[in-house]
C-alpha cells in the first residue's frame, strides 16, 4: 500500500531522528502511595500543584483511576475526591476506565497522516480485531488514536506504554504485536 515517495520520507526520518536514551528504571513502589504523594507535594510551594503527579502515581498503582484512587489522592493533598476526578477528566492521559495491559496510541494528526498513519491505524485494528477506542478480549491491548505526539518528522508515531516507536509504518505493525504477545507469555 505504501507509496515509493512515502518510503523515501520514512528513510529520511530514520536518519534525522536523534538517538533516544534507554528508559529510566521504574521508580520503586516500596513505600505506601500516600507517602510517595507527600514526597512529590513537598516539591511545590502549594501542595495542590502536585495533583497531576499524584494522580499519575495513583494510576500507576491501580492501572487506572477507580473511585478509590480519587479518595487516596484527595486524602493526601487535602482536597475532595470530586475535585480530583474533575481535574483528572480534563487530561487525556488519565484513565477513568480500566485499560489493557499495553496501551497503543496511534498519532493521526496532520504530519503523521501525511506519511501513512491512517494505514498504520488500520493495520493495528486489523491485527488486534478492535476499533480505535477498544480493548482486546484477552485484556492485552487497548488501541487509541491520539493527537500530535511531537514526533511529526519521524511519523507515523505510535506510543506503546508511553514509549515512542517512530516511524512505525503499517507493514511493521504485525511483527511488533507478535513480539508483545509472545512476551506476555504466549
Amino acid at each position: 500500500m505504501s507509496d515509493p515517495s512515502t518510503e523515501q520520507t520514512l528513510a529520511g526520518a530514520r536518519e534525522t531522528r536523534p538517538s533516544m536514551p534507554a528508559p529510566a528504571p521504574e521508580p520503586p513502589r516500596d513505600r505506601p502511595l500516600r507517602d510517595r504523594i507527600l514526597d512529590v507535594a513537598a516539591l511545590y510551594p502549594e501542595s495542590r500543584s502536585a495533583i497531576i503527579p499524584a494522580l499519575r502515581l495513583a494510576q500507576e498503582e491501580h492501572g487506572w483511576l477507580p473511585e478509590e484512587a480519587f479518595d487516596e489522592v484527595a486524602d493526601a493533598l487535602e482536597l475532595t475526591p470530586g475535585y480530583c476526578k474533575a481535574v483528572a477528566s480534563f487530561y487525556d492521559m488519565f484513565r477513568l476506565q480500566p485499560v489493557g495491559r499495553h496501551e497503543v496510541c496511534v498519532c493521526t494528526s496532520l504530519a503523521c497522516t501525511l506519511v501513512g498513519a491512517a494505514d498504520t491505524l488500520r493495520a493495528f485494528e486489523h491485527e488486534l480485531g478492535v476499533e480505535a477506542g477498544g480493548s482486546t478480549e484477552d485484556g492485552l491491548f487497548t488501541l487509541r488514536t491520539v493527537e500530535c505526539y511531537g514526533g511529526c518528522g519521524w511519523g507515523p508515531v505510535v506510543a506503546i506504554d508511553e514509549r515512542y516507536h517512530e516511524p512505525l509504518p503499517a507493514n511493521e505493525v504485525v511483527p511488533l504485536i507478535e513480539r508483545l504477545r509472545s512476551e506476555a507469555g504466549g
Binding site: 500500500m1 515509493p4 515517495s5 512515502t6 523515501q8 520520507t9 529520511g12 526520518a13 536518519e15 534525522t16 536523534p18 538517538s19 533516544m20 536514551p21 528508559p23 511545590y44 510551594p45 502549594e46 495542590r48 500543584s49 502536585a50 497531576i52 503527579p53 499519575r56 493533598l77 482536597l79 481535574v87 480534563f90 487530561y91 487525556d92 492521559m93 488519565f94 493521526t108 494528526s109 496532520l110 504530519a111 497522516t113 501525511l114 506519511v115 501513512g116 498513519a117 491512517a118 494505514d119 491505524l121 488500520r122 493495520a123 486489523h126 493527537e147 500530535c148 505526539y149 511531537g150 511529526c152 518528522g153 519521524w154 511519523g155 506510543a159 508511553e162 503499517a170 507493514n171 505493525v173
Partner: protein
C-alpha cells in the same frame, strides 16, 4: 563558521561532562557575576524573540517583572503540542544542559524563587532526560543553595503534564500548574504581574530559554548581527510531511522556505509535486507553492499572509485532499477546546461538522460561505487564541483552495479519495490493510 547555535554539533550532549567540555556552564559563571538588570539588558539587546509562537521580545518581557515583589517564578513552557511541532523535544533530548543553564541564568536575572519546567506528559523519555540532567547539574553546584558561591539559591521543579494541548497557552499552563483544570484566564493581569500563585511570573518557551547562555557568552550584539532587521538569530525549524528528509533544522532567519524545504529537506520525494505549505504549525494559514521563496523571518511570513508560529513547516504533496486536511485540523481544535467560551466551544464544532459534510459529499452550495462565516464569528471573539487557531487555518484552506471545496460539492464526494493519505482515516472502504 557554522550557521547553527543551539544544535551546532552531531549526536547529543546529555552527559554534563560533554556539555562542559564544549564550554557549557561557563556562561552561567559569567552571568552570576553580572548585575541582574544587565543580563536582561543583554537579552534585550540581542533582539531574541519568543520561540513559543507569539514572537514577543524576550528581554522586554523579562523587564516587565517588578523587581521588588517576591516570590517570583520562571515557568518554562515545554508543552509542545501544536501539531507538526517537535523542535523543543530535540533540544531537550540533545542539549538539555543548555536549557538548564538558561533556566538558572534567567531565574537569577529575575530573582526567581523557583523555576518550573512544564513538560507535556507524553514526553516521558524527555522528562527522564531532564531529570537526569538536573541531577547532574545539582551535583556540580549549578542548581541548589548558593549556586557557585553567588549567594543565589536555584530551584528547578520538572513538572509533567497529562495530555492537554491548551496547557501550552501560558495562563492555562499556570492554572494547570496550580492544580486546577488547565483552563486559560483572562488577561490582564498578565503573568508578569500576577502569574503563578498570583505572583510575578515569566513564561518562556524551551528554545527561547536555551538560547540565553549563548547570548551571555557572546554578547547581545553578536546575536543581533545574525538574522534580519527585526527577526534576529536562528530558529530550530521542524520540517515534516512529504519531504525526503524530514527533521529539525536550525537556520538563521535570513534564509527562505526554499532553503529549508529543498536545501535541508531535499524537497518533495520523487514523482510528486508540492501542493501546499503550512508554515508555522497547524494553526497557521496555508501558503501556496509559488510562495516558497518567502523568508523564514516573522515579517516575511506575515507579509505572505500567514504566521511564523511555532517554527514548524509542513509539506503537503499533490496526493492530498485539502478538505480532509482542513477537517483533520478542525477536529484537533475541537478536541482541545477547553469549553470556557461559546464561540470556541460551539463554533469550532459547527465548522468541523460543515467540513465533514463537504468531505462526505453531503453539503449544499451555501454551506461553503456558511463555513467562512462561522470562522469569521470565531475570529477575535474568544478568551484565548485557541478559537482563532482553528478559524484562521480553516478559512485560509477554503479561500486558497476554493475550487477544491467546490469540486466536493459539485461531484457529491471527495475527488481525491483514491490518492489522499487521509482517505483511509475518513472512508472505511479505503482502509489500507497490509497483506
Amino acid at each position: 563558521m557554522s550557521d547553527r547555535i543551539l544544535l551546532d554539533f552531531e549526536g547529543d550532549r546529555r552527559e554534563i561532562a560533554d556539555y562542559e567540555a564544549a564550554g557549557g556552564y561557563e556562561s552561567l559563571k559569567r552571568a552570576l557575576k553580572m548585575e541582574a538588570t544587565d543580563i536582561v539588558g543583554m537579552v534585550d539587546k540581542s533582539g531574541l524573540r519568543g520561540r513559543g509562537g507569539a514572537g514577543f521580545p524576550t528581554g522586554r518581557k523579562a523587564s516587565f517583572l517588578p523587581s521588588d515583589r517576591k516570590p517570583a517564578y520562571l515557568c518554562v513552557n515545554a508543552d509542545e503540542s501544536e501539531p507538526c511541532t517537535f523542535k523543543d523535544r530535540e533540544i531537550m533530548l540533545r542539549n538539555p544542559h543548555a536549557l538548564i543553564e538558561g533556566i538558572v541564568t534567567m531565574s537569577f536575572a529575575i530573582g526567581a524563587t523557583s523555576a518550573f519546567i512544564y513538560i507535556r506528559g507524553e514526553y516521558r523519555t524527555e522528562f527522564e532526560v531532564l531529570m537526569r540532567a538536573a541531577e547532574q547539574a545539582r551535583a556540580r553546584g549549578y542548581i541548589g543553595r548558593n549556586v557557585l558561591g553567588s549567594g543565589y539559591d536555584a530551584t528547578i521543579v520538572i513538572h509533567r503534564g497529562a495530555g492537554a494541548y491548551i496547557c501550552g497557552e501560558e495562563t492555562a499552563l499556570l492554572s494547570s500548574l496550580e492544580g486546577e483544570r488547565g483552563q486559560p484566564r483572562s488577561k490582564p493581569p498578565f503573568p508578569a504581574v500576577a502569574g503563578l500563585y498570583a505572583s510575578p511570573t515569566l513564561v518562556n518557551n524551551v528554545e527561547t530559554i536555551a538560547t540565553v547562555p549563548f547570548i551571555i557568552e557572546k554578547g547581545g550584539e553578536w546575536y543581533a548581527e545574525i538574522g534580519t532587521e527585526r527577526s534576529k538569530g536562528t530558529r530550530v525549524f521542524s520540517l515534516a510531511g512529504n519531504v525526503k528528509r524530514p527533521g529539525n533544522y536550525e537556520l538563521p532567519l535570513t534564509r527562505t522556505l526554499r532553503d529549508l524545504i529543498e536545501g535541508e529537506g531535499g524537497g518533495v520525494p520523487d514523482g510528486r509535486t508540492l501542493k501546499a505549505i503550512i508554515p508555522g504549525g497547524s494553526s497557521t494559514p496555508v501558503l501556496l507553492p509559488d510562495q516558497i521563496d518567502t523568508g523564514l523571518d516573522y515579517e516575511s511570513i506575515a507579509a505572505a499572509g500567514s504566521m511564523a508560529g511555532s517554527g514548524s513547516v509542513t509539506i503537503v504533496d499533490d496526493r492530498t485532499c485539502i478538505v480532509q486536511l482542513a477537517l483533520r485540523t478542525a477536529e484537533f481544535y475541537v478536541h482541545e477546546s477547553c469549553g470556557k467560551c461559546t464561540p470556541c466551544r460551539e463554533g469550532t464544532r459547527w465548522g468541523q461538522e460543515i467540513l465533514r459534510r463537504i468531505e462526505m459529499g453531503e453539503a449544499r452550495q451555501d454551506e461553503l460561505d456558511l463555513l467562512l462565516n462561522v470562522c469569521d464569528r470565531i475570529l477575535g471573539n474568544c478568551l484565548c487564541p485557541l478559537g482563532d487557531a482553528m478559524a484562521m487555518p480553516v478559512a485560509a484552506f477554503v479561500t486558497r483552495f476554493r475550487d477544491e471545496f467546490q469540486r466536493h460539492i459539485d461531484e457529491g464526494g471527495c475527488p481525491f479519495v483514491e490518492t489522499s493519505p487521509f482517505s483511509s482515516y475518513y472512508h472505511h472502504d479505503h482502509a489500507g490493510v497490509p497483506g
